[in-house]
C-alpha cells in the first residue's frame, strides 16, 4: 500500500554533490551547470541526491552514497513512455 503521505508539488533534491569543492575549501558546491563531467571508470562515482518513486512505498529522496557497501547498477534513460 502506498503510504498516505503529504507531498508538495515541488520536492527539492541536492542533485550532484560536489564533495571536492565542499571538503577542500569549505565553500558551497559550485552550481551543477558548472560542474565538469567527472564520471570515469576507475574513479569514484559522483554522489548525488535525487527525488524518487519507489513502488509500494511512495516518494522519497535517495542518495547514491546510501548504498555504499553494495554493488549499484545505475541506469539513465531518455524518458518515461519512450519506446525502447
Amino acid at each position: 500500500m502506498m503510504a498516505k503521505e503529504q507531498d508538495g508539488c515541488v520536492q527539492a533534491a541536492a542533485g550532484p554533490i560536489d564533495q571536492g569543492a565542499a571538503s577542500e575549501s569549505g565553500a558551497p558546491a559550485a552550481p551543477a551547470s558548472r560542474m565538469p563531467i567527472v564520471a570515469r571508470v576507475g574513479g569514484e562515482a559522483p554522489d548525488f541526491e535525487a527525488s524518487g518513486y519507489v513502488a509500494g512505498s511512495g516518494f522519497k529522496n535517495i542518495k547514491l552514497s546510501d548504498y555504499r557497501g553494495k554493488w549499484v547498477l545505475l541506469c539513465f534513460y531518455p524518458g518515461d513512455f519512450t519506446f525502447v
Binding site: G43, A50, W71, V72, L73, Y77, G79
Partner: protein
C-alpha cells in the same frame, strides 16, 4: 527499464541495488509504472525510479544531451567502494542487453574476490588469467578465442 526489472531477481541474488534515472518527475515515474511497466513485468518496477530534474546528475555522468534536454542511455556499474567499474553509453534508438550487464557484474565480482583477471567473453566457471611476469607472452598457452573452456 522493463528488461532490467525482469532480471531484477538475478540482480538481487548478486547483491546489486538497481537505480533508474531520467529527467521525468517522480509523479511521471509513478504513472508510467502503473499504466505501462506493471503490464510488462509482474509487480512493476521493483527498484527506485529517480528524477534528475534539469539533467544536473546526468551532466556530471556525461550522459545529458543539451539539445533534447534528456539523459541518453547510460549504464554504470559501481562497486561497494563507490568506484565506477564499467560504463556503457548508447544513443537512444538502441536498447541495452541486460545479459551482458549481468555477465560483467559476475566478472567484476570474481575479480574483486580473487584478484584474477577474466579474459574476453568470460562466464562463471570458465578459465581465468593470473597476471604476473610468468604470464607475459604466454597467454596463448592458456587461452585462445573460441576455446574459452
Amino acid at each position: 527499464m522493463a528488461a532490467v526489472a525482469a532480471s531484477h531477481g538475478e540482480l538481487v541474488e548478486l547483491g546489486v541495488q538497481v537505480l533508474s534515472m531520467s529527467t521525468d518527475s517522480r509523479f511521471i515515474h509513478k504513472i508510467w509504472n502503473e499504466a505501462e511497466l506493471s503490464k510488462m513485468v509482474d509487480g512493476g518496477i521493483p527498484f527506485p525510479m529517480l528524477s534528475d530534474a534539469g539533467g544536473r546528475v546526468g551532466r556530471v555522468y556525461g550522459v545529458y544531451e543539451e539539445a533534447a534536454g534528456v539523459n541518453i542511455r547510460g549504464r554504470f556499474l559501481i562497486d561497494p567502494d563507490g568506484v565506477i567499474q564499467a560504463m556503457e553509453v548508447l544513443t537512444p534508438a538502441v536498447g541495452r542487453h541486460v545479459g551482458e550487464t549481468i555477465r560483467q557484474l559476475k566478472a567484476f565480482q570474481h575479480v574483486r574476490e580473487t584478484g584474477e583477471a577474466t579474459p574476453s567473453g568470460w562466464q562463471p566457471g570458465k578459465k581465468t588469467l593470473k597476471p604476473g611476469p610468468e604470464l607475459v607472452g604466454r597467454v596463448w598457452e592458456v587461452w585462445k578465442p573460441g576455446q574459452e573452456d
